[in-house]
């Protein structure tokens, strides 16, 4: 994978994520973790090779089909990307409202989810009035509201102290138990090692499995990129 005519950011990436798996992705800043996540949430096409998601070759999908695939992916961005002019409730409801569900119809579900992440009293609060941790929970709620099949989290613990970061990862484990495939990118290897999940590391643009715990493990698929 490369950006424009620049050098390869990632190369020789051969990996398969089994449905319902939980993976950590580690590596120093600038190693290419976010780039690999961008490939996974279909924000970028691989410059060569093949990318399949939910069993479908991305290059063979038309624009509408790609949109439908994206709806099955939840993303937690490193910088949250909340919309400051919308309330916490409206932000979380976005993945539902953009697919044609009126806010009034989804209000109850969204409120329940916000209560689940501990923000029951902040439904009408706008992001700038929330703390970093609260904004992060809004971002997480937004990523999971549409019950995605795949949840991608880019440095979700970056701004948190270890205790809160650990609680957040427990929350991801809860979601994983409900069947969501999870990939968490983090530069905090110490925190990652406290959890019993496979870890792959990006070094010099290559993805290496450094910890393989239990099924479903990473499987090498020849030709898959």
């Amino acid at each position: 994978m490369r950006y424009g005519t620049g050098p390869d950011v990632l190369h020789q990436v051969n990996l398969t994520l089994a449905p319902g798996s939980f993976h950590f992705m580690v590596g120093p800043s600038g190693a290419g973790k976010s780039s690999l996540l961008r490939l996974m949430y279909l924000a970028h096409h691989p410059s060569s090779g093949r990318l399949s998601i939910f069993g479908r070759d991305v290059s063979q999908q038309d624009r509408t089909e790609l949109t439908m695939l994206r709806r099955r992916i939840g993303i937690i961005f490193q910088d949250f990307r909340l919309l400051d002019h919308l309330t916490a409730l409206e932000n979380v409801a976005l993945p539902l409202t953009i697919t044609g569900n009126p806010l009034d119809k989804v209000r109850r579900n969204v409120s329940e989810l916000l209560a689940w992440v501990g923000l029951a009293d902040f439904l009408d609060a706008k992001p700038p009035t929330l703390s970093g941790g609260q904004q992060q929970r809004v971002a997480i709620a937004r990523a999971v509201i549409a019950r995605p099949s795949l949840l991608l989290a880019d440095e979700p613990t970056g701004n948190l102290d270890d205790k809160i970061a650990e609680r957040l990862l427990f929350l991801f484990e809860e979601l994983n138990k409900r069947g969501t495939t999870i990939v968490v990118a983090s530069h905090n290897e110490a925190l990652v090692n406290r959890f019993n999940h496979p870890v792959f590391k990006i070094v010099n643009g290559e993805v290496r499995l450094i910890k393989d715990i239990q099924s479903p493990p990473l499987q090498k698929t020849p030709g898959a990129t």
């Binding site: 624009r63 709806r71 993303i75 002019h85």
Partner: protein, 296 residues
């Protein structure tokens, strides 16, 4: 539709503040240009209808009073002969009072016309302009007064109508140019909006929003701004038309046009803000869709 909150915070952009003003100016200019085109069309029609069915015959009076009296008698004969021709509605020999009135702007009041070599003027009204009738009139005049001249107004009327047509075409061209400029402006503003809200647009795209959903946000925004601007421009044009109409009414001149419009013409003028809104809406939508097509 206008009341719903836009997911993309476009209302906060600086472009949102100046676009309605620009659209207002555009609609004002387009409406005024259209008013000129409509008015010129009506004026040309009036001139055409008023003058193309009439002729003026000039007959020299002669050197002496005896010549004058003889010409007068022959003129009455000619009047009778002309009146008997097919397609001739009315033949009038202008009397001294009427000639005085015509000459008044140049010679002043109470001029003794008999002292001046002012020709006799005969006005002929036709039922409809017809070459055969005009030829018959010319023959009769040549037989009776070889030195007389006939003016069927066609030369200067043709020039005037040509000028009116050119003004009309230029006005319509202005309407088209203003429409094009409005479209270009909306493209610019929409691209600015896309650049400012790139991250929000990308977020929606990554969350699985259809391109048309994102384009609709920009489309509604453009519609809101252009409707506000368009109505302001139309209102301003309305005031200008009313003011001109009052001034023209006070002038009480048969040469100047009157600014009165039929229902269909008012409908055409109302199309200006509507057209501006439509152009803005569609331009914004297409601009966003083209930009989104570049995203994977």
């Amino acid at each position: 539709m206008f009341g719903a909150r836009n997911d993309v915070p476009l209302d906060r952009d600086a472009s949102s503040r100046f676009l309605p003003w620009l659209i207002a100016v555009m609609v004002y200019l387009a409406t005024m240009a259209l008013v000129v085109a409509i008015t010129m069309n009506k004026l040309a029609n009036r001139w055409d209808q008023g003058l193309s069915n009439s002729l003026t015959i000039q007959v020299p009076t002669g050197q002496t009073p005896a010549d004058r009296q003889s010409t007068e008698r022959k003129l009455i004969d000619l009047q009778n002969q002309l009146a008997q021709l097919d397609n001739v509605e009315k033949v009038d020999i202008l009397n001294d009072a009427e000639l005085n009135k015509l000459m008044e702007p140049w010679l002043g009041k109470d001029v003794h016309l008999q002292d001046l070599p002012i020709p006799f003027l005969v006005s002929v009204e036709l039922e409809q302009s017809n070459v055969k009738t005009i030829d018959a009139i010319n023959t009769l005049i040549t037989q009776n007064f070889p030195e007389a001249s006939v003016d069927d107004h066609q030369r200067w009327l043709g020039n005037l109508l040509g000028l009116a047509k050119v003004i009309q075409m230029v006005s319509l061209l202005v309407v088209l140019l203003v429409g094009g400029a409005a479209g270009l402006m909306v493209i610019l503003v929409t691209r600015m909006g896309l650049a400012i809200h790139k991250q929000v647009v990308e977020l929606f795209h990554h969350m699985g929003a259809h391109d048309s959903y994102i384009a609709t946000r920009f489309q509604i925004h453009a519609l809101k701004l252009s409707t506000a601007g368009g109505l302001s421009g139309l209102l301003l044009a309305g005031f200008t038309i009313a003011s001109f109409s009052t001034l023209l009414g006070q002038a009480n001149s048969s040469i100047l046009p009157s600014l009165t419009f039929s229902l269909a013409e008012w409908g055409l003028l109302l199309l200006m803000p509507l057209g501006a809104s439509l152009i803005a809406m569609m331009t914004a939508r297409l601009t966003v869709l083209r930009s989104l097509a570049l995203m994977p």
